[in-house]
Amino acid sequence: MRNLLAALLLAACERETPTPAAPPPAEVPTAALAPSTNAPTMPDAPLYDVAMTLEDQGGAKVGLDTFRGHPAVLSMFYASCKAACPMLISKIQGIEARLSPEARAELRVLLVSFDPERDTPEVLQRLALEQHLDLNRWKLARPAPQDVRLLSALLGVKWNRLSNGEFNHSSVLVLLDRDGEPVSRLGTLADDPTSFLQTVEAMASTAPVSAVAP
């Protein structure tokens, strides 16, 4: 049955979802399945086109475009997350460690919470200290409750809230250029960051065209 579902999902990945010609086959041999084509396409326009107000770990109101003018990594998390979210932070720090000093200095990181009710600035500040985040370049922030789904849609993050208050969510890292256009994406914590790193280096070595943001 897993192969059946895989076949259905792969068939549905084409953008113009065609009506299937026949009911799905009972079993499809694994070898017959093409490699996963479910690599989502990010929009080729700035995500900063969407105005959104966030509150950062210092209690400051900032826009989604707070890091305009810098290459920026965006993702979503929640503070009480025990497994994947610390791994997410580690992954980003691991990427930073592999950057040249010049690229690392240029890179910014914005992590936005799924859980604005519980992830207050105080909670975010505490997490930032625990994780030794460089708050000159990192921001932890919470959105308005009604904007959580909107932001997840912009970033291509899948998530839902569980009945115990935890969250089931994907761990997606989106790299935006200085104007907020998505240029690279890591869909899982296991994804190879090589291309991501190269893109950051390339962006960092290119002088910004517009005015440099703080």
Binding site: L5, D49, V157
Partner: protein, 255 residues
């Protein structure tokens, strides 16, 4: 303010004006439980559009909200295919009949349309609850004959022209076209954490999905539900396709 008075400014379609009907309360039995053990999801009473939003209704919206014209909208909110079947940014033309379901719309555009009406998109749970109904029964989801009829739609070749809304018989709740016309956007379409490649092992799933990870399918006989899961999990919010439309919902307390 009654839902109908909010609908009147949008009732410019040549066909029947849009109405909302109460659906539920009831229980949705998802084929992929959203969390372990949650095999029955209670759904409260809500209001649902009786039929999908039409081209004519979307046109009226685009004319009063020009930021949603295909030549003005940000590509972050709608892809290159958005409303390309219309003759012009503010005119339907021969390839977009007024009473056909509005298609080639992104999730953002659908949401904005519903918000302008004082409404919202239905959740997956709400949509599925409504879709479980046959003409006579509120929950025909385990009826083999009902399942076969719905699956037969998927077995038909795509027709050249999309039918107008409201042609089929309404279901138990008075809702039409949940099956047999177009896929439909939902508010939380990105809430199902199923990987596009289910050959991955459980361990790999934990690297992709925090929390429950890989989900086991229940009720493997409901092929149509699998198709809808596949369709939703393949979407991104800025996508628009010729087979995907939407309808709106509203919170509905006691009558």
């Amino acid at each position: 303010m009654s839902p109908l008075s909010l609908l009147l400014p949008f009732a410019l379609a040549l066909g029947a004006p849009q109405t909302q009907v109460p659906v539920g309360p009831g229980v949705w039995r998802p084929i992929f439980p959203p969390e372990e053990g949650l095999e029955e999801v209670p759904v409260g009473r809500f209001l649902l559009d009786a039929r999908p939003v039409t081209n004519a209704e979307l046109l009226a919206f685009v004319r009063t909200h020009p930021e949603w014209r295909r030549d003005r909208v940000s590509r972050a909110l709608a892809d290159e295919g958005y409303l390309t079947h219309w003759a012009a940014p503010d005119a339907l033309g021969p390839d977009a009949r007024p009473d056909q379901p509005a298609t080639r719309v992104s999730w953002y555009a659908a949401r904005a349309y519903c918000a302008a009406r004082g409404a919202r998109l239905p959740t997956v749970a709400e949509w599925e609850l409504a879709a479980a109904a046959s003409e006579d029964e509120p929950d025909a989801s385990r009826d083999p004959e009902f399942r076969a009829r719905i699956l037969a739609w998927y077995g038909q070749p795509a027709t050249a022209t999309l039918a107008d809304v409201g042609q089929g018989e309404p279901n138990y709740w008075g809702v039409s076209d949940l099956h047999g016309l177009v896929w439909e956007w939902t508010e939380d379409f990105n809430s199902l954490l199923v990987s596009g490649d289910n050959r991955e092992q459980k361990g790999a799933d934990k690297l992709q999905f925090c929390g429950a990870g890989a989900l086991e399918a229940r009720d493997r006989g409901d092929y149509a539900a699998f198709m809808r899961v596949a369709q939703r999990s393949s979407m991104e919010a800025h996508y628009s396709t010729s087979t995907l439309g939407f309808r709106c919902a509203s919170d509905g307390g006691k009558p």
